[in-house]
């Protein structure tokens, strides 16, 4: 016999029919996101594996190549992403407390810091391009072993590039969330989408936490 439930609270209005209650729906959404993040770990994992193999094979080459990257810009970007993660965590909190204005501000703040990250990354990429460090026909290296140095920069651009794509997607999603929040979509504790995007944003932050020391701080400076 089907169990008929009457909308006892506001929350039950957001429960899709395949779920028993709002808690089950939230748990399912979070579990789905964590499983997606596990596939993302392996997506980036292939690149981290390639990095590991070549770092152990051409350690000295990687140290010389890494010195051409700006630690100051890399560290600044790390700080920018860490603070953006703080904003995101506070945004999820605001959504849970149904604080609409605060939520919109924090979502926009997180997106803005994402844009700051991308701008600094653009400055770095431009500098690499001018210095002929972009792999391909224009790559120039006056030091030893230019071929394997180029390999380091392939890995650098592949890893930071894939990460930058993730940040760009994140900024877009955050702006959409801010618009939906402005329209009152997450009112009355219907905060699931905000929490899910938060998990994604923090994951992208974690990836950078590993990219920064592995690419910018190879060996000692």
């Amino acid at each position: 016999m089907p169990i008929l439930t009457s909308p006892l609270s506001d929350e039950s209005a957001f429960v899709a029919e395949q779920f028993d209650d709002i808690e089950q729906q939230r748990d399912a959404a979070k579990l789905g996101m964590w499983i997606f993040l596990a596939t993302e770990v392996l997506f980036f994992g292939g690149l981290f594996l390639g990095y590991t193999v070549y770092r152990f094979t051409y350690g000295d080459v990687f140290i010389d190549a890494s010195r051409r990257l700006s630690v100051l810009l890399g560290a600044t970007n790390t700080a920018v992403l860490l603070i953006s993660s703080l904003f995101m965590a506070l945004a999820v909190r605001a959504a849970k407390l149904d604080q609409r204005r605060q939520l919109i501000r924090l979502l926009l703040g997180t997106a803005l810091l994402g844009l700051v990250f991308m701008s600094i990354k653009a400055v770095e990429y431009h500098k690499d391009f001018v210095d002929h460090l972009v792999p391909g026909p224009h790559f120039e290296w006056s030091g030893k072993d230019p071929q394997n140095t180029e390999l380091f920069f392939w890995i650098y651009f592949a890893m930071t590039g894939l990460h930058a794509i993730h940040v760009t997607v994140g900024i877009g999603v955050l702006l959409v969330l801010a618009l939906l929040a402005w329209r009152g979509k997450f009112a009355k504790r219907n905060y699931n989408p905000v929490e899910i995007v938060g998990l994604y944003w923090h994951f992208v932050d974690i990836v950078w936490v590993f990219l920064f020391p592995l690419l910018y701080l190879v060996g000692h400076r």
Partner: protein, 97 residues
């Protein structure tokens, strides 16, 4: 209903993360030989754990979510350890050609 965490916890987590960033940065200017890599990775792992525990609410979430989070890392470890076991042992057995 889920527990609402105080902003102070998030601020402390963020302060800790920024302090750890400063630590990696400083350690990178000291020559520790192979320990530069180990120190950098150790700090990165601590930072990742802090983000997962407090920002991603692994602390206080269900066992099922813990399992999903750890599963991703397990597969990554399998990927890395099996591949490296190949690369690092290639010279062990001499080949006759």
């Amino acid at each position: 209903m889920e527990e609402i965490i105080q902003p102070k916890t998030y601020l402390r987590t963020c302060a800790g993360l920024l302090a750890l960033l400063g630590l990696t940065w400083m350690v990178a200017y000291v020559d520790l030989g192979p320990f530069n890599l180990i120190a950098a990775l150790a700090v990165a792992i601590i930072k990742a754990i802090l983000i997962a525990l407090f920002f991603m609410h692994i602390k206080g979430s269900s066992r099922l979510l813990h399992l999903a989070a750890v599963a991703g890392l397990m597969w990554l470890l399998i990927l890395i350890s099996l591949t490296l076991s190949d690369y690092f042992t290639r010279g062990w057995v001499p080949l006759n050609h």
